[in-house]
C-alpha cells in the first residue's frame, strides 16, 4: 500500500497553485466559510472550515469534537454490564451493532462463549441495526441533494425494523440486549414471522428508492464522478465499511475475520463498486441493505434451538489481559481494545469508530469541488456525529 500516489501529489500541487493564483495573480481574496457546527448538512455538530474561490473549494478543514462525550474515560469508571448501555449510544442509529464487539471482546478475555442460538440472534439483530441505520442514509442522501421525499419513505420503513427491535429488547433505539455470555432474553413469540414480513418491506423499499432516487438523472448528475476516492487513498486514510468497498476494495470483516457470530453459516455476497465516487457509495449501501435482508432471512430459517445464556458468574470479573475485537458495523469497522486488570470494570478501553476515520479524508477529498458537492460528499461518506466524537 503506497501512502502517497502521484495523483495525490498532483492534486495537492494543483491546490497550492490555485491558492497562489487566487491570492497573488488575481489579487482577490478567498472567502472563508464556516459550514457548521450548526448546519443542516452536518447532521450534528461537525464544523468544516472551507476556503472558497467563488464557489470552488481551495482548502477544507474538518473540526470535530463539539460533541465529545468522553466515552473512553466513562467506561473506565463503570462495570462491564453497565458499559453495554453506554456504548450503544456511540453510533445511535446502529445501536445494537455497537454492543456486539465490546461484548465479544469481554467474552474473549473471560474465555467463555455464548451459546449458538445467542450468536445467531446476535447476528440477526446486528443485521437489523445495519438495515435501520443504512435505510436512513438511503433517504437522507436525497435530502442532501434537495429531494425531500425519500427520507420520509426511509423513516416509514425503518419503523418496521425498529418495531422488531423493540419487540425483542424493549428499546427502539438503545436495546441494551447483549449480556456477557449471551443475551438478556429469547425472542418473543411470533417475532420470526414479523421479521420475514419486515424484510420483505425493506426489499420493496430498496426497489422503490432504486427507481425513485437512483434512477433519477439529476441524482446521477450530482453524484457520478463527485468525490472520487481511489482505492490506495482510501486504504491509506483508513477508510472502512461501504466507503472502502465503494472504492473497489473487497474487504469485509464479516467475511474476512473469523468471529463467533453466524455469518459464515449463510450464503451472502460482499458488494463492491469500482468507481469510488458518491454514486458508488450510495449503490454499495443500497446493495448491502438488500444483502442484509437476505442474511436475516437465511438466519431465521436455520435458527438453532438451545439456551441463550452461557454459564457466567453472578459478579463479572474479567481476568487480566488485553483483547481487540472489531466487527463490520453499518458505518465501517468498529472495534474495542480492552485492557483488563482483573477488576469488575476495564482498566482502559480504546474505541475505534468508523466515522472518525471516514471523515479524515475530507481535506484531501474536498479540494477543488464546488459548494454543493461538499454536501454531496459529506452525505455520501455518511457519518454519525456520535461516532466521530464519542
Amino acid at each position: 500500500m503506497t501512502a502517497i500516489t502521484d495523483r495525490q501529489q498532483l492534486a495537492y500541487i494543483a491546490g497550492q497553485a490555485a491558492e497562489a493564483r487566487v491570492n497573488v495573480e488575481l489579487e482577490t481574496e478567498g472567502m472563508l466559510l464556516n459550514i457548521g457546527p450548526q448546519h443542516p448538512a452536518t447532521h450534528g455538530t461537525l464544523r468544516i472550515v472551507v476556503q472558497l474561490d467563488g464557489e470552488q473549494v481551495i482548502a477544507a478543514d474538518p473540526v470535530c469534537g463539539y460533541m465529545h462525550r468522553g466515552y473512553e474515560k466513562l467506561v473506565e469508571v463503570r462495570k462491564y454490564p453497565q458499559i453495554n448501555t453506554l456504548v450503544n449510544r456511540i453510533d445511535w442509529l446502529g445501536h445494537f451493532a455497537n454492543e456486539v464487539p465490546f461484548v465479544l471482546a469481554a467474552e474473549q478475555l473471560m474465555e467463555i462463549e455464548a451459546p449458538e442460538r445467542a450468536q445467531w440472534i446476535r447476528t440477526i439483530l446486528f443485521e437489523l441495526s445495519r438495515i435501520a441505520n443504512i435505510a436512513l442514509f438511503l433517504g437522507d442522501m436525497g435530502v442532501q441533494l434537495g429531494a425531500l421525499t425519500p427520507v420520509f419513505f426511509a423513516f416509514r420503513d425503518r419503523e418496521h425494523v425498529l418495531n422488531l427491535m423493540e419487540a425483542a429488547s424493549g428499546g427502539r433505539f438503545h436495546p441494551n440486549f447483549n449480556r456477557i455470555g449471551g443475551l438478556k432474553d429469547d425472542l418473543p413469540k411470533g417475532w420470526i414471522d414479523e421479521t420475514r414480513q419486515a424484510m420483505e418491506r425493506i426489499r420493496r423499499f430498496c426497489d422503490e428508492l432504486e427507481t425513485l432516487l437512483m434512477g433519477n438523472e439529476i441524482f446521477e448528475a450530482r453524484t457520478r464522478g463527485i468525490g472520487v476516492i481511489p482505492p490506495e487513498i482510501a486504504q491509506s486514510y483508513g477508510l472502512s465499511g461501504p466507503n472502502l468497498r465503494a472504492s473497489g476494495v473487497d474487504w469485509d470483516l464479516r467475511r474476512d475475520v473469523p468471529t463467533p457470530l453466524a455469518w459464515q453459516h449463510v450464503d451472502w455476497k460482499v458488494w463492491t463498486h469500482p468507481d469510488g465516487d458518491s454514486f458508488a457509495r450510495y449503490w454499495v449501501r443500497l446493495q448491502e441493505t438488500r444483502e442484509a435482508t437476505r442474511i436475516v432471512d437465511q438466519l431465521l430459517d436455520g435458527l438453532p434451538s438451545g439456551p441463550i445464556m452461557a454459564k457466567v458468574p453472578r459478579i463479572i470479573k474479567v481476568p487480566e489481559g488485553e483483547a481487540w475485537v472489531s466487527t463490520e458495523n453499518p458505518l465501517g469497522e468498529m472495534g474495542y481494545y480492552i485492557v483488563s486488570k482483573g477488576d469488575t470494570g476495564p482498566f482502559r478501553v480504546k474505541i475505534r469508530s468508523a466515522s472518525f476515520n471516514n471523515i479524515s479524508i475530507l481535506p484531501w477529498l474536498l479540494k477543488g469541488v464546488y459548494v454543493p458537492d461538499i454536501i454531496t460528499i459529506l452525505g455520501s461518506l455518511y457519518f454519525i456525529l456520535g461516532d466521530i466524537d464519542r
Binding site: P40, G146, L148, R156, I218, A221, R222, P372, I374
Partner: protein, 354 residues
C-alpha cells in the same frame, strides 16, 4: 374596465352600473391586495402542506381547523409575533426594502392577468411583455436581500439567484414568443380571444388551447418558470441543505413572511399566466365570451386551470433532487435556449405553410 381593444368577435358585455374612476381604482387595488395572500395561502395549503404530506406518506397539519386549513394563517400570526431582527452589520435600509421589492414584482404581475372578459385590471397591449418584465423585478429584491444581510450564505444565495434568473429569463421569453406569434398579439385578452375562437382542424367545440400547437413552448415555459420561482430542481438560491435558506437566511418575522408570500404569490401568478397563455385562461368551452355569464364563470375557470398548472410545479418540487449551479447554467444555455429558438423558428415556418 375597458375591453375596447379586444379583437373579439363577440362584444364584451357592458355592466349596468357605471363607476367613477376612483371607485374603479379602489376596487381594483382591493382585489389585487386580496388575490396575492389568497393565492399564496391556497397553494401553500393545498400543495405544499397537504399534497406534499400525502405524497410522503404522512398527514401534514391536522390540528388548526378541519384538516389543518388554518395552519398557514396560524403560521402567519406566529411570524407577526416574532422579533424583527436586523443583523448587526446589515445595510438596514436595503435589508428592509428587499422583501417589499420582491412582493412588488408579484403584485405587478397580477395587473395584466384577465379573469373574465371585463375582469382585468389593465388590459395592456403589451400585456405578456409587461408581465414577464415585472416578474423579474423580484430578482433585484433577492439580490438586495443577499447582499444587505452581510452573511456569506446569503451572499452565495443571492449571487446564485442572479445568475439563475439571467439564464432562465431567455427561454421563458422565447417560449412566450411562439404563443405571441401564433396569436398575433401581446395582449393577454387577445391571446385568450384567439384561443376561444380557434379551432383544431375545424373542430371548434373547445376552441384552440395553445398547449396543443405550442406544447414545446409550454414545457419550456414550465421549466423556466420553475427556475424563476426557485422551486426544487432549480432551488440553489435557497438550497436548505447547503445554504440553509440562502438569501432569506437572516430574515425573521414579518419580513420573512413577505418573502414567503412573494414566493407563493409569484408561483400563483406565473401559473395563472401559463394557464392564460396555454390553456385558454378564463374561457370555458360552451360559454359565450360575450355574455355576463363568462364574467362569473371566468374567475373560477381561471382558478381551476391555474391550480392544474401549479400542480405540476409542486409535483416537480416534491419529486426531484436539486441541480448544481453550473449544471443548471449548462442546461439553460446549451439546451433550453436552443430548443426555444427552434420552437420559434418552427412556429414561424408552420404559420407560413398553413
Amino acid at each position: 374596465m375597458t375591453a375596447a381593444a379586444l379583437p373579439l368577435v363577440h362584444a364584451a358585455p357592458t355592466f349596468a352600473l357605471e363607476l367613477a374612476y376612483w371607485q374603479e381604482t379602489l376596487i381594483k387595488v382591493g382585489v389585487l391586495l386580496a388575490v396575492i395572500p389568497f393565492g399564496a395561502l391556497v397553494l401553500g395549503y393545498v400543495y405544499l402542506l397537504k399534497m406534499m404530506s400525502h405524497m410522503q406518506s404522512r398527514l401534514g397539519p391536522m390540528e388548526a381547523g378541519p384538516h389543518g386549513v388554518l395552519q398557514l394563517v396560524a403560521d402567519g400570526v406566529k411570524f407577526l409575533q416574532k422579533e424583527d431582527i436586523f443583523p448587526e452589520r446589515a445595510d438596514r435600509f436595503v435589508f428592509a426594502a428587499a422583501p417589499m421589492i420582491v412582493l412588488l414584482g408579484t403584485f405587478l404581475v397580477y395587473v395584466v392577468v384577465p379573469a373574465g372578459p371585463n375582469l382585468v385590471i389593465a388590459d395592456l397591449d403589451v400585456g405578456i411583455f409587461f408581465a414577464l418584465g415585472v416578474a423579474s423585478i423580484s430578482v433585484i429584491g433577492v439580490l438586495m436581500a443577499g447582499w444587505a444581510s452581510a452573511s456569506k450564505y446569503s451572499l452565495l444565495g443571492g449571487l446564485r439567484s442572479a445568475g439563475q434568473l439571467v439564464a432562465y429569463e431567455l427561454p421563458l421569453i422565447f417560449a412566450v414568443v411562439g404563443v405571441a406569434m401564433q396569436a398575433g398579439t401581446l395582449s393577454l385578452q387577445g391571446i385568450v380571444a384567439y384561443q376561444a375562437e380557434g379551432a383544431i382542424f375545424g373542430f371548434d367545440a373547445i376552441g384552440l388551447p395553445l398547449i396543443i400547437p405550442q406544447f414545446v413552448g409550454f414545457a419550456l415555459f414550465m421549466i423556466s418558470a420553475q427556475a424563476e420561482l426557485t422551486q426544487t430542481p432549480f432551488d440553489m438560491p435557497v438550497a436548505e441543505s447547503e445554504l440553509v435558506g440562502g438569501y432569506h437566511v437572516e430574515y425573521t418575522g414579518f419580513r420573512f413572511l413577505l418573502f414567503f408570500m412573494g414566493e407563493f404569490g409569484t408561483a400563483f401568478a406565473l401559473s395563472a399566466i401559463a394557464a392564460t397563455l396555454f390553456l385558454g385562461g378564463w374561457y370555458v368551452p360552451g360559454i359565450d365570451p360575450g355574455t355576463t355569464l363568462a364574467n362569473v364563470v371566468g374567475p373560477i375557470a381561471l382558478f381551476l386551470k391555474t391550480m392544474i398548472v401549479a400542480f405540476f410545479i409542486f409535483w416537480a418540487r416534491i419529486s426531484f433532487p436539486r441541480f448544481r449551479e453550473d449544471q443548471l447554467q449548462g442546461f439553460a444555455w446549451k439546451w433550453l435556449v436552443q430548443i426555444a429558438l427552434a420552437n420559434v423558428l418552427l412556429t414561424g415556418l408552420f404559420m407560413e405553410l398553413f
